[in-house]
Amino acid sequence: MSKSNSDFSVVGKRIPKLDAAQKAMGRAEYIQDIKLPGMLYGRILYSKYAHANIVKIDTSKAVALSGVHAVLTGEDVPEKMKMGFIKDNPPIKKGKVCSFRDEVAAVAAISPEIAKKALDLIEIEYEEQIGIFDPEKAMEKDSPLVHGHLKSNVLKMPWDIHYGDVEKAEKESAFVVEDRFTTQWVTHCCLGTSGAIALFDANDNLTIHTNTQIPSLAQKDFLESLKAMGLENKRVRVIKPIIGGGFGSKLDTYAYEHIAILLAHKCRKPVKIAFDRVEEFKATSTRQPTIIYIKQGCDKNGKLTFRDMRMVLDNGAHTSWGATTPSVMLMPISSLYRVENVKYVAKCVYTNNTYSQAMRGYGNPQATFAIESSMDMLAEKAGIDRIEIRRINRNQSGDETPQGLKITTCGLEECIDAVEKELKFDGKNEKGVGTGIASLIHVGGGARIYGSDGCGAILKMDDYGKVDVFTGGTDMGQGLDNIIAQIVAEELGLLAEDINVVHSDTDICPWDVGAHASRSTFVAGNAALGAAKKVKQKIQKFASKLFDVPAEKIEFKDKLVFVPGDQEKSMPLGKLLRKAHFSPGGTMLMAEYFYDPDNQNMGKELKGNMSMTYSFGAHGAKVKVDEETGKVEVLEYVAAHDVGRAINPLLLEGQVYGGVVMGLGYALTEEVTVKDGEIMNANFRDYKLFTAKDAVKIKAPIIETDDKDGPFGAKGIGEPGCVPTAPAIANAIYDAVGVRIKDLPITPEKVLVALKKKND
């Protein structure tokens, strides 16, 4: 029988974030706050053109400036030093630039001001080339090429998938809808901007303090850079300080990190590169923009028959994880609701725009916007209630989807119920007011996109009953430190405050693939739980001799190790640990555990159970549309999520609320505006984030399905909050005023144009 929250003493409790007090006192140390002795300040010069040949670079004036220690150009970058998973991007470009964010030179100086001055002294002669900025045009045969050595702007990617028989299913469908949707560039807007400090020891081993979500994979990237620099067999230590937000932005290594390494090596001093806000907008990556064609159908009873989707992704000038987002888009396309026949083709196309990366949801918000907008259109065409069509087609526990996803637990129906309980969907709202609903599926039990989806944990008991946990997982504000502490404390009968969680230092912590795919609670949680169970067994074994009872009779609670029903056989954990330590032939109690989930990489057929379990949710929005101005006001918002189990509801709500508001920005206000490859709104005045005044109070019902593989039943919840927000809003706007906006963001201008068209 599944456990309820009352069975736990620490899991399920609203324990405040362990580092919150330190942060509230202004004592948390971010990269901006770190100064090392002798540290220099690096700065990067970017291209003046979207596409140009570099004819000449003269750095002599910059080199001569007092206080400048080093100036680098593309000539100083080793040939093999390249970034991105297809290694198409050197940290400083040589001979040619392909986007405005292409790095052309870098300096290190004794102050940020001198570094900036030095950049102004670098003279570059460019020869401008024709740029290509529209991905659909870039796909045409006679399009200019972004990279001359390639035959086409279209990347070689495997996204051409067909499950079942879409053509046949379409013929047999009673109702079919078809449309085109687009999604925009948006960016993470971490309040703490990017930065890194690189330094070498006398033996050429590197330590780099950097804002990253992937300490272990970043270590591998940096080792490769060192190798390219001729520094083989060296050590790299990656230390991630407290970071001011991640949201996927730090899932790849960036040019500034590799440039800091080059400068530090050249100067033999620590070199810090820290971005200002403009640079953060221009030189970090965006969410992948998409052009989406969708066709789907149902039978006369509303049962989905097929889904056929085609996408064009603007890859920008270089390749980062944005180009792999179709692997996650495939999940909602093949598996949001039961649909047997699915086709999906995605093309990633080089342009002279900025390149995209991972951002919360990893492709899912884009795909779900099209799917869930289209679901409402299909419901209307079939004359079926929009809630009903979702219930008819809902995923259920025990399903295996065409992609091969195994749905172990599914609370989608309960989520839909929870939304319907809070909001009216009878179409009887006052004029200009409407409600919308949209659902989601997301990976909730890891996501195998790499050779290993694992995470290690090392657990060390001290002499006083306290525990140090060294986790591969990364806390970036989401609260992984609490989750690990609560899981370990629960297992060992301790309090969360007895657990010290050490993370984000590759010299100390075991390997982990990174803080992405909503995987940390599940994977790092299971790793910590595994280590705690091992150490528990060791303690039981020791206590069994001490108490002269079988090991399995020994329990842990309230910092005591005891045999239930026998008051004589009870000892504070700390005392027992000291006994173990200081007895003849003494022992320290420690354990390690590596958890790699039993999920699958997608094979050649692009099938496979990529996650151990899936998170579900349904969002409901009530909006008011001002028909005079086109402005959309969000009146109420409900975000119901199947989370398996809430290890910490206080922090979990924070993930949902934050995700929703990020999703509302995606739906209504946020857009990186790009003109001929140049970002026009690289600041918080023109890039419109929701403020406290715009945001609305959110209700977040938590549905617990107690997943069999999750730590204490938990699934991931980092990303889902921002996945179905845009379609919930778009559907509510349609309900309110009868216009369907298919291009994000839904600005007042777009609403007004659509209203005018409708009324004409």
Binding site: A24, Y30, R277
Partner: protein, 169 residues
């Protein structure tokens, strides 16, 4: 341009510091005085991360020259707690889960603290207005708004206020 010696009154302590006439107060706090609690996120007065108090009023320290601050009472986030004892507002932020990555937190606290000085029991709308100039990307603001509204005024129906009150007993 030459540096000038000025005296600033920060967190009830006078401190002498050499500044350039065009140094912002934020630069001086962070780089000269090692008071790194105040954060720079946009550098142009939009995000509120650098908010401090000047004579009890919230001010963007990135838009204020250090020279302008002479003769005023400056308070930074480092001045909110008494030693290691958090102020009731700080404690409320902790208890209500209003802190995630924490980068906006110092500025958010300073804006909220200024509000509470003139209105100790603000309603939700008032709180939202008072912190509308402070951007947060993590929390969706819900818990921050609650933390400010409930600071020092524990609410019976709030599970986090209950946890807090019990812990205090």
């Amino acid at each position: 341009m030459e540096k000038i010696l000025i005296t600033l009154n920060i967190n009830d302590k006078p401190c002498e510091v050499m500044v350039y006439p065009n140094d912002t107060l934020l630069e001086v706090l962070r780089d000269e005085l090692d008071l790194t609690g105040s954060k720079e996120s946009c550098g142009e007065g939009v995000c509120g991360s650098c908010t401090i108090h000047m004579d009890d009023k919230p001010v963007r320290s990135c838009l204020t020259l250090a020279m302008e601050a002479t003769g005023t009472k400056i308070k930074t986030v480092e001045g909110l707690a008494k030693g290691d004892e958090l102020s009731s507002l700080q404690q409320s932020f902790v208890d209500h889960g209003a802190v995630q990555c924490g980068f906006c937190t110092p500025g958010m606290l300073m804006s909220a603290d200024a509000l509470l000085k003139i209105n100790s029991k603000p309603d939700e709308k008032t709180v939202r207005k008072a912190i509308a100039g402070n951007i947060c990307r993590c929390t969706g603001y819900t818990k921050i708004v609650k933390a400010v509204a409930h600071a020092g005024n524990s609410q019976d129906h709030c599970p986090d206020c209950i946890t807090f009150s019990k812990a205090k007993e």
